[in-house]
């Protein structure tokens, strides 16, 4: 066995993934709550879910507090939901997660402005437009859905410029585009989503977290959707 050089203790904590989704659909936001575990606690059958956590989201401007309840969702896994919660563009929300014998988690997120496009046009086998970028958005994921199945995908990192010209090339074997979806991620979720994970053991990796008091991420996604008529 290796010799220990630096005393390195396991830090117990909750691990959360909180997603605020601004798509106009009530209850589409969710929180997942788990715990970090020691390496030698791992086994194939154990669950890291924390089901009895106290999960709340507060609207900072109004101090209105929404309680999220645990639900077993076979499609999305075990999550905390509030069917009446609908985040609003430009507003900031604070997440609090409490669970017995764990430090409390705090995190905040601001819903980015809904993505916009300008100067859209079709040319032969491509769809072109200017993506309007705003400071409160760290990353855009662009999906151009095509008839007959399939989609063209592009990830755009906000580099501080106001606009970015995009030209989505449509593969020959696919049909015409019919739907454009653009998802805007707030900077914290962008940071967490893009953090490298190599899965190489015995290799140092900085743990990227956007929450205080534990592990994981709390962030926001806003959705732009447009039907197209080429």
């Amino acid at each position: 066995m290796p010799t220990e050089l630096i005393e390195t203790e396991f830090e117990k904590g909750l691990n959360v993934f909180g997603l605020l989704r601004d798509d106009g659909i009530s209850g589409s936001s969710f929180i997942r709550v788990e715990q970090a575990i020691k390496v030698d606690e791992f086994n194939d059958t154990m669950s890291v879910d924390i089901r009895n956590a106290d999960v709340t989201i507060m609207h900072n401007a109004s101090s209105a507090t929404y309680s999220f309840q645990f639900e077993e969702d076979t499609a999305r896994g075990n999550l905390f939901f509030n069917p009446y919660f609908t985040p609003a563009e430009g507003e900031t929300y604070t997440l609090t997660v409490k669970a017995e014998s764990f430090p409390t988690i705090f995190a905040s997120a601001t819903i980015p402005q809904r993505p916009g496009i300008q100067n859209s046009s079709f040319s032969e086998k491509s769809y072109n437009f200017d993506l309007v970028m705003t400071e409160d958005t760290g990353m855009y994921e662009v999906y151009l859905f095509l008839e007959g199945g399939g989609a063209v995908y592009e990830k755009v990192i906000n580099d501080g410029k106001e606009k970015k010209k995009l030209s989505l090339k449509i593969p020959d074997s696919y049909g015409s585009p019919y739907l454009l979806n653009i998802y805007g991620y707030d900077p914290k979720l962008t940071e967490y989503t893009n953090a490298a994970v190599t899965l190489r053991w015995n290799t140092y990796q900085e743990t990227v977290t956007t929450v205080e008091g534990g592990y994981g991420a709390f962030g926001a996604v806003t959705v732009f959707s447009s039907w197209l008529n080429p």
């Binding site: 050089l5 630096i6 396991f10 990830k155 893009n194 899965l199």
Partner: protein
């Protein structure tokens, strides 16, 4: 004011007196003899020939160019004696008068010393030579041919130097005395070769059959050298053959290695090449792979000017996916997985070098070359498993895509003036015109593409004086990294004092480096195999200060013991902050964090020959540490590549005139590595379906928090000149002069595992695994013509 002026005058007079005293021997004995020494058969210049003026204590050794200069010779008829262990001694009478004479080329006849180890290992030079440099490691490339377990790889040989450590068994990169791999400079015929290693364990990109000389400076190097702070590996290619076609060829089922030397017009030429492509993985498993390198050189004399053209080309391509090996996997929860890399690398260099004897005391060297390197290295991981608790499939994907291009057009020139009392003054300049193109992409982000250019202009002056048993060197290098303003000085001094059989050596110097490289070892899915260079424009250059003290002692005529201690201060180092995920939108420079390092160590080496046995045994103690303010509270931690203790030996035994047996042993401290404390889920999100997934991620609060167990590698080699059998007859049929059979046995200590890593298995605990489980026996065949 008056008093100080008087003191100044007094000092000035004393200085003049001393200067006159210093100068007077040259006035009394003004003559100088210089020239080249070469092999009478091949015409190739010989390194390390002792040139003595008989009846005096005056003398010199031929340098890397086979060139010698003896100064301060009394006028009249003298006899020069040329001696070298592998050549017949030669005497040459010279009527010197009061003139300086350039002898042009003195030819020596090779000799063979039957039964002695030297016959094998030092046909044209010593096993390892120490010159005046305080910290050099020189090895005759003959070792690469005689010790088959080195795999004919220069870097494998270099790793048997006590100054060299490694941080990963699979990475070709190496560390010298606690510095980072990107601080090593590798030059072929004076041309900088960027990323001089083949990818993934295929070693150096230099064909051993074309190498004439290997010299590695591991610290305290002269002002003549710049650009890197840790080491300079200086390789010289062969010069060709002046009268016949000669060469060597080694076929194998996956490629070939070959080299040929021949006369070309009024000059000589050499061509060499290696090509490897694993047929099994390429054809059967559909994974493209290619490793190739080619060299050429042409040399010709124009009067007193030697011109050498050198060309180099290397190409690597790998499309590796471990999933294609995994036909035996049967894990129901594993829906799909893919892990590997797609890498394209291209290396090329072309240079023209001249060496002109302007007068017997004055030499002008010029060199112009272009060197470029391109790489696109994608590493990827895609795992889809069934989450049996939540009854969903989750996918984890990770990708790195590093692209780097560096090109360098260099012009350099220097004058060497051999004055009196064996004094040599060298003055020169070097201009490096760089172009860069970089892109670092993680997690499918586009990454920022940057194009950059910079020019490094350097001047140096180096003075070397021999005063009896004392050899002293002082020099200064001044560099400016355009378009920045201001020059930075790098003073360097060293000395060597001979006291009977003991020589005491010291060196101190400051070094700056204006190029750096990302350390991607912790983020790439497969181990880092290349450096990605970028300029430190607008930033403090890497800085290093070396202090070295060493003692050399002759144990016998052919056996030498050296003990060297060093301190290395690294006040400016950089860490690439991959934890800052804004890497997708920031330039390289914006993501660098400045930190510091320190290293210290003691190295001992016993080398030479005893009867039929030759080689060396070495032990080193070393410590290398790093500290970055934004990383682990700025605490010191062990650097990658730190290996506290290392015992290495390379021994060859001349069993019979036709057989050489060899052993190589590495017994070193294990690598510092990062042990996990726990794990958390790393969440993924699909915005289209509004579904999330998760995969595990290790928690690693401290880097290099453990040291792996001691590494032990013992290997045996056997090389036999064939006198009968199919191999012999085949070489005869092909018209070859000699043929050889080699055997190697690797991993002899297989019962003692060398863990590459540990992972935790529930209900078992930590499992340490290695790649080799049983000894490996392999054979090779080569012909020489």
């Amino acid at each position: 004011m008056i008093k100080s002026r008087i003191i100044s005058h007094t000092i000035f007079k004393r200085f003049l007196l001393l200067y006159f005293a210093y100068l007077s021997p040259s006035l009394l004995f003004p003559s100088t003899i210089s020239g080249y020494v070469a092999d009478v058969e091949t015409g190739e210049t010989i390194i390390g020939v002792n040139v003595i003026v008989e009846g005096t204590e005056l003398g010199a050794s031929t340098d890397i160019n086979g060139f010698f200069v003896v100064t301060g010779i009394p006028e009249g008829n003298i006899t020069l004696r040329f001696s070298h262990i592998a050549y017949e001694e030669k005497r040459e009478n010279v009527d010197l008068g009061a003139k300086n004479i350039f002898l042009e080329t003195v030819l020596l006849v090779p000799t063979m010393l039957e039964g002695e180890a030297i016959e094998v290992v030092a046909n044209r030079g010593n096993i390892i030579k120490t010159e005046t440099d305080i910290a050099s490691f020189q090895a005759d490339p003959v070792i690469l041919r005689e010790v088959p377990q080195l795999g004919k790889d220069v870097f494998e040989l270099v790793k048997y130097s006590p100054s060299v450590t490694i941080g990963d068994e699979f990475s070709p990169l190496y560390n010298v005395r606690g510095s980072d791999p990107s601080e090593n400079l590798v030059q072929l015929d004076g041309m900088t070769i960027y990323n001089p290693q083949h990818l993934f364990g295929y070693g150096a990109i230099f064909n051993p059959l074309m190498i004439k000389n290997i010299e590695m400076l591991v610290g305290g190097f002269d002002a003549e050298y710049g650009g890197r702070n840790a080491s300079i590996l200086y390789l010289t290619s062969r010069e060709g053959h002046q009268s016949e076609v000669h060469g060597e060829f080694r076929p194998s089922i996956s490629g070939f290695v070959g080299a040929v030397e021949f006369p070309a017009g009024k000059g000589t030429a050499m061509l060499s090449g290696r090509f490897t492509s694993d047929i099994v993985t390429r054809v059967i498993m559909g994974m493209g792979n290619l490793w190739a390198d080619f060299n050429g050189s042409y040399q010709r004399n124009f009067g007193d000017t030697r011109v050498k053209l050198s060309a180099f080309f290397a190409r690597d391509y790998i499309d590796f996916d471990a999933a294609r090996y995994a036909f035996y996997y049967d894990i129901p929860e594993l829906r799909d997985y893919s892990v590997g890399n797609r890498t394209n690398a291209l290396n090329r260099a072309f240079g023209l070098r001249t060496r002109s004897i302007l007068t017997p005391k004055l030499v002008l060297e010029t060199h112009v070359y272009g060197s470029a390197f391109d790489v696109d290295n994608q590493t990827f991981l895609r795992v889809v498993v069934e989450d049996t608790i939540n009854n969903i499939d989750v996918t984890l994907m990770n990708e790195t895509d590093m692209q780097n291009t560096i090109s360098d057009v260099t012009l350099k020139a220097n004058f060497s003036y051999f004055t009196f009392w064996s004094q040599t003054v060298k003055v020169g300049f070097e201009s490096n015109d760089y172009r860069f193109s970089n892109r670092a992409s993680l997690q499918f982000t586009e990454g920022v593409k940057t194009r950059d250019s910079a020019q490094l202009l350097s001047f140096f002056i180096q003075d070397q004086v021999q005063l009896g048993p004392l050899l002293a060197k002082a020099g200064i290098r001044s560099a400016r990294f355009f378009p920045e303003i201001g020059w930075r000085m790098e003073p360097r001094i060293s000395s060597s004092l001979r006291l009977g059989n003991i020589t005491v050596k010291t060196a101190w110097g400051q070094y700056r480096q204006y190029l750096s490289s990302m350390n991607t070892a912790d983020v790439e899915v497969t181990p880092q195999s290349v450096d990605y260079y970028y300029p430190l424009k607008g930033m403090t250059p890497l800085f290093s200060e070396h202090t070295i003290v060493g003692v050399e002692s002759k144990v016998s005529d052919r056996l030498e013991l050296t003990v060297t201690g060093y301190l290395k201060d690294l006040p400016t180092l950089y860490r690439y902050d991959f934890g800052n995920t804004r890497q997708a939108i920031l330039t390289h420079q914006a993501l660098l964090e400045q930190g510091k390092g320190r290293a210290r160590g003691v190295e001992t080496m016993l080398r030479g020959e005893v009867g039929r046995l030759s080689g060396w045994v070495a032990y080193a103690y070393s410590v290398a540490e790093r500290s970055f303010p934004g990383f682990q509270n700025g605490d010191w931690y062990l650097a990658d590549g730190d290996q506290t203790h290392s015992f290495k030996s390379l021994l060859m035994l001349k069993v019979t005139p036709d057989i050489t047996a060899s052993t190589t042993l590495q017994l070193t401290s294990g690598f510092p590595k990062t042990f996990e404390t726990g794990w958390v889920s790393k969440y993924t999100y699909d915005p289209v379906t509004n579904l999330m997934g998760e995969f595990f991620q290790y928690l690693t609060p401290a880097k290099n928090n453990v040291r792996f167990p001691t590494r032990m590698f013992l290997e045996l080699g056997w090389k036999k000149k064939l006198r009968a059998g199919f191999g012999y007859r085949l070489s005869e049929y092909l018209g070859a002069t000699d043929s050889y059979l080699t055997w190697t046995v690797q991993n002899i200590l297989f019962l003692r595992r060398n863990p590459m890593g540990y992972f935790y298995i529930p209900e078992y605990g930590y499992y340490g695994y290695g790649i080799l489980s049983l000894p490996i026996v392999s054979a090779g065949y080569s012909i020489k013509f």
